[in-house]
Each structure stands twice: as C-alpha cells, then as structure tokens.
Symmetry: C2
Subunit: 697 residues, 2 copies
C-alpha cells in the first residue's frame, strides 16, 4: 500500500507542472481527434476516411449504452449487460433468456425488442455561432437560458424538416461550443444471441469493477428496416489477429458523463450532498430487491435486472466518493484550478472577459444546496419509480407542455423528442405488480426518510398512510398497466388527463405540483448559472492549454485511445490478459458456487475449449459509464474486443484521469469466437462475423 | 385493506376515551403486577410465591436477550438467535456450529463460551427516596444530573460490599422511581444444544417479523459454578399439556426498550432524524455484508452472524418508521398527550408541580438535533465498529476514567461495571481480519457520508486517505488481536495507553477527543433535560391514571400476559398456530431453495415426525426486542413455549400497544420435544426437560 501511494505522489508532481493531459487521457470528439499527439506518441495518424468509417459503424444503444455494426446485414454487437433490459423484457415466467441465454439459429427466430431504439451519428454541424449570437449583453442567466432554449428549438425543428434525421444539440466545453448531431434512428431491433448471465456476469457484483475478470459480456442484435435486415454500409470487420500487450487500441462509444471540469466547490457538493444522497437511495433499494429476489423463482427472475442496475450504480458512486475523500485527488484538483485562476486573474483583459466563474458557482451552490433533497425527491432523480408512474408522469406533463411553444417546454418534451417518449409510453415492456409495489413503497419511504414526515411533499405523497399501504392503494386504482388504456390516455391528451380518476395519474399530478417550482428554481439559480460559468472556465482553459483540451463526456460519440497494458497493485503485477482456463480455475476454487458458478453449457464444453484463449484484457483507454458495449478497434479499424467495465481504480475517472493503475476492461474478440464456436455451436453467427468484408476491400 | 383501516379507526375511538391500557397491554415490574386487572379479566391472581419463583428462574442473557433455567442442574433455554453470537464464536473454519448445529451427548462434551455472562435477578430495592433527596431545589438539570450520579454511585458501591451481587440502578417511569436491582452473575456458560440455523431461522430475513412461521428458534446452554453444573433452586418445569387457543400465558423476560412515554416532538425526532440515520447505516452495512458473504465459504460463515443482526435491526426500525408515517398512530399519540396536558394545565397546583415538560423537550430537541449526526458518528451509536476498536476504546477511556471518582466517570466505567468490561476486553472471541477491514471501512465511509469530507471529525478519522486504505493502515498497525497484548495494555493502565504506538489505540484516542465534548453536550442539553421532563410527565400520568401505568421497558425483568389468539388480516383469519407439517409444505413449495430449505436432518426425519405437532403460535403478550428467549409460562408457571419474534404489526409496539393484529410469536414447547426426540435423538436432554421436578413439588 505504501509503495502505491508513493508512486501516485510522483505522478501528481509531474501532472501539476503540466496539468492537462496524461499520455492516453481524453474522450475526443469525432471531428477533433488529437492527431499530432497520436502521431508523436504512437506513430499513427488516423485519416478522415478512417474516422468517418468507424464513427458511422458505431451505435448509441437505447438510453445509455454503446454498440457497433459488425456485418453488412445489420448485425449489432454490444455487452450482455447493455442488452439486459431488452432481454429481460423478452422473458416471461416460462422463458428466462436473461438467465438461460438465447440463440436464433436462423433469422426467423430472431426476437423483436419492442420499444428499443438505436442511433448512428450521421452528421455533425457546428451551431455555436447561432446560439451564442442569441445571447445579448446584459441578459440575466435565466434570460440567457431562455434565449438559448428558443434558438436551440428552432435549429432542431429546421434540421428535422431538412434531413428527416433525429437532431440533438450537444453542449460542449460547458457551453463554449454547441454541435448539432443528426442521428439515423433504428426502431426494429431483434435479439440474435445472448449467453447465460452466469458467464456474461461471471463473478457477479463481487467482480464488477474489478480485475482480473473472466466475463463473456457480449450479446448480438440485428437492426431491421422495412421488415428486412438493415443494409449497413458501415460496419466493423473482425480482426484476424486480436491484440498483444502494448498494442494501440481505440474505444469508440458514448461515455455518458464525466465531471472533470468541475470546480472544487462543485466537487464538494458531489462529495458531501449529492453522492451520499444517491448512495442512501441505492442502499435502501438494493436491500429491498435482494429480499424480493429471494421470495421465489419468479421474483428472482423479475428482480434480477433492476438489482444489477442498482448494484452497478452503488459501486460506481461508491468508488467516486472514496476517491473524493482522498486528499491527493482533491489537492490535484485544487492545484489545477488555482493554476487556471491565476492565469485569469493576473491579466486584466482576461478578468474582464471571464470574471470569477469559480466564485459564481460557489455562491450558486450555497443558494440551492438546501433545495436539492426536495428537488431530487420530487423529480425522482436517481430514484427508481414504478413503470406505471413514469407513464403517468409523461402523460400528465405532456398534457401541460404541449400547450406551450416548443422552446418554452420542459426540455424532454421538445418536438424532436416526442416520438421516443410516446413510444416509451406504449411499449413499456411487461409490468410486474409485485415489483411495482416494491418500488413504489421504496420511493414513498425514501421521500419520508429524506424530507421527514412533516414536509409538505411527504404529507401529500403518503396521504397519512404507511408507505406500503399507500403504494397498494395507488396501484389498486391504476389502469395504466393496460396498453389499450395507455393508448387511450395518450390519444385523449390534456382533456383525458384533466378528467382522469386513475390513482397513478392523480399521484403524478400531485407530485408534479411540488416538482415544477423546485425544478424551476434549480434550473434558474443553479443550472443556468453553472452553464454560464463553465462556458467561461472552458474558454479560459482553451485559451491557456489549446488543443489539449477535450470536453467532458456528454453521452455522445467519443474516441478514446490507449494501449493494452498490465499494471502493478500492492507490489504485484496484474497481467494485461486472462484466459478461458482461468474461469474454470476460479469456478473450481469456489466449488462452482454463485457468483462463480459456470453455466452447464460451459462445464460441458470445457474439454473442447482452448484454455489458453485470451478472455478479458485491460487497456489505458479513457472510458466511463455509457462506454459499455463500445467496440475496441485496432489501427486498421478492426474489432479486437469490446469494452465492458473499468477496474476499481478507474472509477475516479469520472472526475480525473490517471493511468498508473486505472484500466478499462475488455472482452477479447478471440474469446467471443471461441465461445460461440465451442460452447454455443453458433456457426452462422461466427461466419457472419468472420466473413463479412467491406465493399471497398 | 380498507376493512382493516376501519377496524383500526374503531379501535382508536375507543382508546381515545380511555387512553391508557388495552386488555393485555403492559410490561409489568416483577413487584407491580396488575393483580386486580388479571383477576377481573382472567380470574387469575398470581401469588407472591408464584411471582418470586418465576422471577428467579428467569435469566438476562448476555447483552440483550432473555432465557430461563429449565432444570435443577443449571440447564438454560433461550432462542437460537440469542445464543447465535456465542455459537458463532465457538465455530471456526472447520466447525460451523451456527450452520450445522451442535449437541453434547454428555456433559463432558458441552462447549465453554468464553466471555459470556448471564444474570438472574436476586433482589429488588426501592431507592427512589435516596436519589430524589439528592436533588436540591434550584439545581440546573446538569447539576441535578451530577448529584444523581453521585448518589447512584454510592448506592451501588455500598450494595456491592454488602451483597457481593452485581448492582444496577434502574430508572423507572422516566425517573419518577429508582430501583436497585441486585443480580447473581454466572460466568461459566457452556453450549449444550443448537439446531441448524436453517430450521432455527427457517424463512430467513424474508420471514423475520412475519407470521405464520415454522422456526425451531431454540438453543440450550448450561451454567456451571466451580467447574460443576450449577445447582439452580429455581427453574421452570415443562408443561405436560402445552397451550390451546385463548389460554392465558405469561412472557417473562427483558424487553430492551420501549418509547411509549415519548412526546410527539420526540417521536418526530425519531421519525425525521434518528431512525432515518440509523436505517441508512444499516442499509449501507447490509449491502456490504451481503457482498462479503458471497466471497467464499469462510466469509459466508463469519459474515452470517453480523448480517443477521443488521437485517433484524433494519426490519425493526423500518417497521417503527412505517408506523410513524401513519397519521392514525400520530393522531392517537397527540390525543393522549393533549389529554394529559389538559389534565395538568387546567389545575394551578399541577402546573406549579410539573410545569411544561412537553415544551422543555421540544426546546431541548431544537438545541441538540443538529449535534446528533456528529454525536452518533463519534460515539459509534448504532454503528458497528471492529472488535479491536471496541477494545482500544475501552482501554483509552478506562485509562482516563479510572483516575476520577466513581460518580464522575462516564457511566459505563463505574466500579460496578468494570469487571464485565475487563472480561470483554480479554475474551473478545475470534477476530477476523477481513471482517475487521470491512467494518472499519464501512464506519469510516459512514462518517464521511453523514458529516461530509470537510468536517473536522472526518478529516481526522480519514487522514486524507480513501476509507479502505485508511482502514487497512490502522489494522496493519494494530496488535490488539493478540490476547497477550490486550492483557498487557489492560495491566499497564494509563501509562501504557499514553505510551502506546498501536494505531488502533491512536485512532480511538483521536475519536475520543471529538466524542467527549459532543457526548457532554448531548448529556447536558438533552439527556438530563429529557430525564427531568419525563419524570414529571410520568408523575402526571400516575396522578391521572394510577395503577394502570407501567414504566417503559428498560432492559430489566418484566412480566407480560395475554392470550394465545388468531387474528384477521386483509379479511383472512390467521390461525393461532402452525404445525410441523407446514414447514415441509413450505419447503416443497420453494423446491427447498434458501431461505426455505430444511436441513438434511429434518428431511431425513420427516416420516418419524408427527406433522400435526404445533410448531409456532401467536399471543397478545406485550413484548419487544430483548424479550427474545423469554419463557412462555402458563398459570402453573410451567413452560409452554418460548418467545422468538413479533409479527410486522407488532413493530409499532415500540411506541404504542395494540392487539387487533399485533402478536408475539412463540415456539411451541411440544415442537421442541418432538424435534429433540425425532430429529436430533437428544434423549438425555429430553429427559432432563421433562423429568425435572421442583423440590417443593
């Protein structure tokens, strides 16, 4: 332990003098790769064609994952855990595809995933000037925010008309730049292959965010258009060779969010207010879901997907929190901030241009931090709610929002997003009454635990009942489990909502009454101030450090790069790769007890499998949540693996990159082929992967 | 659900007009049984001899359970879950007696439980006058508190000299009365029999606080004196007949704590501050222990006892919290309080005598509630700490406290308690490094989550490290796992502590520096105010309602009574008893999967067991945590069962009794004999239970 600390100290000293970028740091915009750095460090200069091809092969999967096309016939590869929610929705009490796996031998057998939407990034336009021009001198942060919303709405509407693509305006560098991303959307997605969860998530919650690992965290889907497999011009070919240690690799996917630009006062808000609140919510729900899952086989099945989501979040936020308690991390953040502050404050022109955004953020936090608990609770932030509540909330809010001009609506109800929201209302997937009861009881209890029994929101939400009784009463009077009823309410618009006696609609209205003013306050006094301040911080950073600055993750496509690399932990070298034999060794060590129990199919196939086939490996590629399912490609743009996790040291990447010990964890492409061939006998799938050639080749 | 609510409403209306006692309400002092009520309601008048005999047969088991002597040779019966910590301490990686059970065929084979202490209540003296006389008019609450401590210390010291018994001064009716309890202590306790945890806790966490149940939650120990089985004049004989529905039964044990006297502002402090904080701590640790237990067989074994403790606490406090959100409960509490307030305020003499204790409590809460988080954290209240920390804390505090006169010490270091504390330092039971690491990491994380990273206590406790790293560093520099070292530090006294470089001692000193002023503040501004106010509330209650008032539970011996009785839930009658066949039915329904898996021994014995033997039953006896292991006796003072749980509706008994649905849950004495005979072939034990006769018979 002591040695590790010293190593880390040395590292910090280096980065303080050149505080911006480690060798492999950065989640780079597709149109801003650091070519000079890549050339200097790795002797590799990606061509525009290379970048364009990889970008168009990549997929944003559902609401928070990554994927890629891997054949010209719409075949999609992602993680098993990214596909898990869709796989769970396809399952019922007779077919548990999440637990048992699935393979469609022929295309006829591929299973349609209702409600699932995937996106590829077709085009990027810089709209910074249009948006900045909308802000006039003398506007308050709230006025500026409204003006920005108006011009964004116009840009999106124009783009939809012009291109028929799905527009999204992406705020970069904290508002220094705005890019319009135009997506091609796929809405007919079918499941092709999933292994058993036992091998996809071998080691379970214990092994999550750990390394060494032995997980086949992969699943395959297929995009269809007009009832036929989509013809995908851009897809990634399978590498014949795989990777070796020290190879340069790229991870291309959709990192959801990083917070590396955050000021120290903002990090303290995370550490002392937001993350503890989030972790308390996760801990409470995890305990309840674990109990729920032990109440019989069906509860076990339907509780599995929600439980893993909660466990994953708990571990991720717990890791960030632990890092924020480390005074070295905070000291480094403070030093970086002071260096930028001094760059600004020592020059009058810069002071005039950028002012004191750090102070503004600190002042805004003081104003709103006491509002956060009520805001989190009433807007259900980081709180799981029952499916029928989400439906009711959308219906209630749409009834109100659609009366307003596009730019004045709550941002999630802009015209550009309505189509997806309507689809989510109709195609909810199965609704399980027992799980709805558990989750609503949990949410009502949480409200009481956070705000206290005398808070107006809690009094209204509980109506003087015990949480479990209140949840039962609301669910008993709710008909939104019925798709026909959901369609009827959607078609009925604001009149239907106004007249509805559905108890969930009434409950959603009740909460909405408390949530709206709180949200408005947080948006006005915090989010718009924060946006304005980070814009100026980003401008100052850019002025100081130029091209070495990349924007924080925004859930949009980014390129990371790095090398496959072992690391040292407590004096021991952790090799860069594991192999298939290691999974069997570990299973034997634990007497094949959960979560180290290999599926039957693997136990049967042990003799056929080559034990030395590389299974998982680690790299220095800069990733974060949302990168799950990102293809790993080599210099030729060929698949050599797929990202599925980071080690525990990488959790701090949310706020700060380091590459001494922190690593991303990949499934090796060779393990995928070996398992598909030897365990699952998935010949057609293997052929499609290995034999698909680009038209241009 | 609706019907249940209406029934409850009806009940409330009744109790509001006669707000004090339901038919079977009350945890009665051994010298204050409500004889008139018992005679009127049940035609039973216990004689002084009956009470004395039962009292002297009852045992306080370790730090929070109940038990009884059941043979003249020191044989003790308690719950399996009460004995569990001792059973777990006897186990090691080769013998898991908690999981596998244990039976000593002969006395030679009985296993010595080092460090375990049991007590029987030999004598009770009323010392109210002595203590009240020490309080002079005009003293501030803090001065009164000091004066009280001084006279208490003197009484205890005198009693020890006179009787050689272990003294304890019990505060009753919130300080209206003080009784001196004198205990006979047994320190050589050996394990005789424990069933497998699988049947003792059949249904696990899911079934805890639920009914119907099928649990053999029983274990047997034996007290030794001078190396031989203790000759116990008082013990409870086994009933030949068992119980039937509507039978009057008594539960005699050590309810740990009720809070029924609490004012509404104090209940809101529980609901909005204390219980949410406690539940967050439990939720966090439960999640961590569940993960820990899945990391291999040894972790599973050593994590089991701590996990069940946490789960039990989480469920109990969760149930109280749910009840506190129920506006009917609060309305009833408010009505009772208003009625008493009006009794006081409408009479000038009463106002002069008792003032406004409700207002004083409310004012004191406002002063200290913000201090509670830091107080809880620094004094480790409701927070599990590593065993070696407890040792270090006692050593550090004893070094300081023993310099002071007895009356001025922190109350746990009075002379009367030193012997037990020293024993606990030496006989800690096994110390598991991995579990110590987990628990210390949990505690450090908790401190940060509760107080934030910039709080002085957190900064000091973490020393700028991640919680896991800091915990590892402290444990690496701690030698207190070694018994010789603990003895050496104990013998060395304050000099040894002052010179110690042991990192756990240093850590305990560090925390102690923060904890002492906070504890002093809470004791002065809250606990002494609260004690004085509740004394006056109790006096007013007594003046108003006379003999129908019983004091809140204090962890000392109490008699409860009630009848064996079915109840109605959601329109269905829940029968008063289950039978052994039901356990097999439930196990089959769950395909014998955990937590509904019967042990091998039971599966093998199914044919021999009589399926119709009553297994568990419910009664209206007024119980709470700490009553676990209490013997259930009939009018003849004979064993007809043993309390092991309450149903979910009984959790609210902590603050309010009701007997519509709330029930205590017992193991039927006939199931114990049937299982010992047919499953465990424990002939000697069965004979000792059934054939022991009182000398006087």
């Amino acid at each position: 332990m002591r040695n590790h600390r010293l190593l880390l100290m040395g590292l910090i000293m280096t980065t303080l003098t050149a505080p911006t970028v480690h060798a492999d740091e950065g989640m780079w915009l597709p149109n801003r790769l650091p070519s000079d750095h890549l050339k200097a460090t790795y002797g590799f200069e990606p061509t525009a064609q290379w970048i364009d091809h990889v970008r168009k092969s990549c997929i944003r999967f559902g609401r928070g994952g990554s994927a890629s096309f891997v054949s010209p016939n719409g075949l999609i590869m992602t993680n098993h855990h990214v596909g898990a929610t869709a796989i769970a929705k396809l399952s019922d009490s007779k077919h548990d595809y999440l637990h048992d796996g699935f393979y469609a031998q022929t295309r006829d057998g591929e299973l349609s995933c209702e409600g699932l939407e995937l996106f590829t990034l077709a085009e990027i336009r810089d709209v910074s000037k249009q948006i900045h021009d909308a802000i006039k001198p003398g506007m308050s942060p709230a006025e500026a925010s409204a003006a920005r919303d108006a011009v964004k709405s116009q840009i999106e509407q124009d783009a939809t008309k012009e291109t028929q693509l799905q527009p999204e305006i992406v705020t970069l560098y904290g508002g220094r730049q705005y890019h319009l991303y135009l997506y091609k959307k796929y809405t007919d997605i079918r499941l092709v292959f999933a292994p058993e969860q036992g091998i996809a998530f071998f080691g379970g919650d214990i092994s999550n965010f750990e390394y060494p690992r032995y997980d086949l965290d992969v699943s395959f889907f297929r995009a269809y258009e007009n009832g036929k497999p989509a013809k995908t011009e851009h897809f990634l070919q399978w590498s014949a060779d795989g990777v070796s240690e020290n190879d340069l690799v790229f991870v291309v996917g959709h990192p959801y969010r990083t917070q590396r630009i955050f000021t120290t006062s903002h990090l303290k808000l995370l550490r002392d207010v937001e993350i503890p609140m989030i972790l308390s919510a996760y801990n409470q729900l995890e305990v309840e879901l674990i109990q729920f899952r032990s109440e019989g086989a069906e509860h076990h099945r339907i509780g599995t997907d929600p439980l893993f989501g909660v466990q994953n979040g708990r571990k991720a936020f717990g890791g960030i929190l632990a890092g924020l308690f480390d005074s070295h991390t905070m000291a480094q953040k403070e030093a970086t901030q002071k260096s930028l502050q001094s760059f600004v404050q020592t020059d009058e022109t810069r002071v005039a241009k950028w002012g004191d955004p750090w102070g503004e953020i600190e002042a805004a936090i003081k104003k709103v931090e006491d509002v956060f608990p009520a805001y989190y609770v009433s807007e259900n932030r980081r709180m799981r709610m029952p499916t029928q509540f989400h439906v009711a909330k959308h219906l209630v809010r749409m009834a109100e929002e659609l009366k307003k001009p596009d730019a004045e609506r709550l941002s999630e109800y802009r015209d550009s997003k309505l189509d997806s929201i309507k689809r989510s209302i109709i195609s909810t997937g199965p609704i399980y009454p027992d799980l709805e009861q558990l989750i609503l009881t949990d949410a009502l209890t949480r409200m009481g635990r956070v705000l206290g029994g005398d808070h107006a929101i809690v009094k209204a939400a509980l109506g003087g009942q015990r949480p479990a009784d209140r949840a039962a009463a609301i669910l008993a009077g709710c008909k939104l489990g019925d798709q026909t009823e959901r369609q009827r309410m959607l078609d009925g618009g604001s009149e239907a909502i106004a007249g509805s006696k559905d108890s969930m609609i009434l409950f959603a209205k009740l909460l909405d009454g408390y949530a709206r003013p709180l949200r408005e306050q947080v948006e006005d006094e915090w989010e718009s101030v924060e946006a304005a301040a980070y814009t100026r911080i980003a401008e100052a950073m850019y002025a100081k450090d130029g091209e070495s600055v990349y924007p924080d993750a925004t859930g949009t496509l980014r390129f990371s790069f790095g090398t496959v690399k072992s690391y040292t932990q407590q004096g021991k070298t952790i090799p860069h790769t594991t192999n298939i034999g290691g999974a069997f060794d570990l299973s034997r060590e634990f007497k094949n007890a959960a979560p180290f129990n290999l599926p039957e199919s693997w136990l049967r196939a042990e003799k056929k499998l080559s034990a030395s086939t590389p299974f998982n490996y680690v790299s220095t590629c800069d990733i974060i949540g949302g990168n799950s399912g990102s293809p790993t490609v080599n210099r030729n743009g060929e698949i050599v693996g797929i990202i599925f996790d980071g080690n525990i040291q990488a959790l701090i990447w949310d706020i700060q990159f380091e590459q001494e010990q922190a690593r991303g964890v990949h499934v090796d492409s060779r393990a995928i082929i070996e398992a598909l061939s030897q365990v699952y006998n998935a010949k057609a799938l293997v052929s499609e992967l290995q034999e698909s050639k680009l038209a241009s080749n």
